[in-house]
């Protein structure tokens, strides 16, 4: 059973629809006691890092997410929240991945980075099972994680950034698999079956 972490802001419906589509059982909750029943967790997210981390803290979810030990997939802002710090609102985050989230800069790129871009795996990773190298996924974000030892796939937008990261059984994807057609559904299935 997948527990989708609800902290009051994220657009959770599309994640639910995608999991329903691949026949995966899931429930939505913002209550640590209920989320304890999940075998895997998804941390979705849109909006700003500062307000999201504030909502996670006020619901007692921040500490619980750090310590529960279940396999976890952070999506978009949900991935960025896994880091130590985000420049977006100068927000200390969950600290489960080393590093700081920065804003895209540069005159030759559009910000936000919106649209379909290629994801190139840099090391083998079960999330990519059955997906071709350079598969297209849908992105929408203004902040990014730099390349680091946790990087398992990269994407280019005025330079390469981390589009997929992994550390133990914690994973994060910068794109929206729930909005990325068949490739996205495959990645979600891989998370459920192989991670």
């Amino acid at each position: 059973m997948i527990g989708i972490i609800d902290y009051g802001a994220a657009n959770i419906r599309s994640v639910c629809n995608a999991l329903e589509r691949i026949g995966a059982g899931s429930f939505v909750s913002g209550d640590p006691a209920q989320l304890d029943r999940a075998t895997r967790l998804i941390l979705p997210g849109v909006g700003s890092a500062k307000s999201a981390i504030g909502m996670l803290r006020s619901r007692g979810l921040a500490e619980w997410i750090r310590l529960n030990g279940k396999p976890l997939l952070g999506i978009c802002l949900g991935m960025q929240l896994l880091y130590e710090y985000s420049d977006e609102g100068s927000a200390p985050c969950l600290g489960m991945m080393k590093g700081t989230i920065h804003r895209f800069t540069g005159n030759d790129i559009k910000v936000p980075h919106i649209g379909w871009n290629t994801v190139r795996p840099t090391i083998p990773e079960p999330l990519f099972s059955g997906l071709e190298d350079g598969a297209y996924f849908y992105f929408v974000h203004s902040y990014f994680a730099a390349i680091s030892p946790q990087t398992v796939a990269v994407t280019d937008h005025g330079g390469e950034f981390s589009s997929v990261v992994a550390c133990g059984n914690i994973r994060g994807v910068q794109f929206h698999p729930e909005k990325s057609g068949p490739a996205g559904l495959r990645l979600l299935r891989n998370f459920i079956e192989h991670c």
Partner: protein, 251 residues
């Protein structure tokens, strides 16, 4: 590499897809949920659903369609038409939309952009700008082209982006439904003035029009409607053509 997007637009009225010429003369173009699914299967990069009836009774019906489309497709979609408040935005997002496009409401009260950004993030808000050629450039029209808005569309585009709109949907009223091509000068003026992505709208009649909007016009995405609804061309054919023209396209 980030690809350019082809975005079919479905104008929805009383539960059906329609397409007008210059905002008038509507023709029936099918069931919106079926069309959305077909475009998604055909390789559409996103969808836009516009509620052009925007009556009180039609509103509930439209949100039902939004929820059905959210279950039917796995690509992002934007809804617009008759969205006047932050409450309307949240209702659309909760029904399953990824973004909302705002037009008359943000002209009336530009602070609504900041309010929505605060609630749902910049990525959730598309500022829709209906531009009409004026003596000196382009002016902004609201209420489906029936009322005058800010005198300068380029300045309004900059203000909307500065206030937090994640994208701009720029429609040429002069070209809309004409099939004569997008207004490239309008696109150039706006894409040169902002750093957020710009979606070109109004006037697509042939594949070359899409290419020109994405190259000469500098647009990041193209909105298409009538050119698809009546079977004049298909998304795979358009994508094949654009890829041949060396424009980055998701296969």
């Amino acid at each position: 590499m980030l690809t350019r997007r082809i975005i079919p637009c479905l104008d929805v009225k009383d539960g059906r897809t329609v397409k007008g010429i210059r905002f008038e003369g509507l023709r029936d173009a099918g069931d919106p949920v079926d069309l959305a699914r077909r475009y998604c299967d055909d390789g559409a990069d996103e969808l836009v659903l516009l509620d052009i009836g925007a009556t009180i009774e039609g509103r509930g019906l439209f949100l039902e369609i939004v929820a059905k489309v959210a279950r039917a497709v796995q690509i992002p979609f934007t809804v617009g038409g008759g969205i006047g408040s932050a409450g309307d935005v949240l209702r659309a997002l909760h029904a399953g939309a990824d973004k909302v496009s705002l037009n008359s409401a943000i002209v009336r009260r530009p602070e609504l952009i900041e309010e929505v950004t605060e609630l749902a993030g910049s990525q959730a808000i598309v500022a829709a700008i209906d531009a009409r050629r004026s003596r000196t450039g382009w002016s902004v029209m609201t209420r489906s082209g029936s009322a005058a808005g800010p005198a300068d569309a380029v300045e309004w585009a900059q203000e909307a982006a500065r206030r937090g709109a994640g994208e701009l949907l720029v429609t040429s009223i002069d070209r809309d439904g004409s099939g004569e091509g997008y207004d490239l000068q309008l696109l150039q003026s706006i894409t040169g003035a902002v750093s957020v992505p710009v979606i070109a709208s109004g006037g697509a009649g042939r594949d070359v029009h899409l290419r020109d909007a994405l190259t000469i016009g500098g647009a990041d995405a193209v909105l298409v409607a009538g050119i698809l609804h009546y079977g004049r061309t298909t998304i795979p054919a358009l994508k094949h053509y654009l890829a041949e023209q060396n424009i980055p396209i998701r296969p």
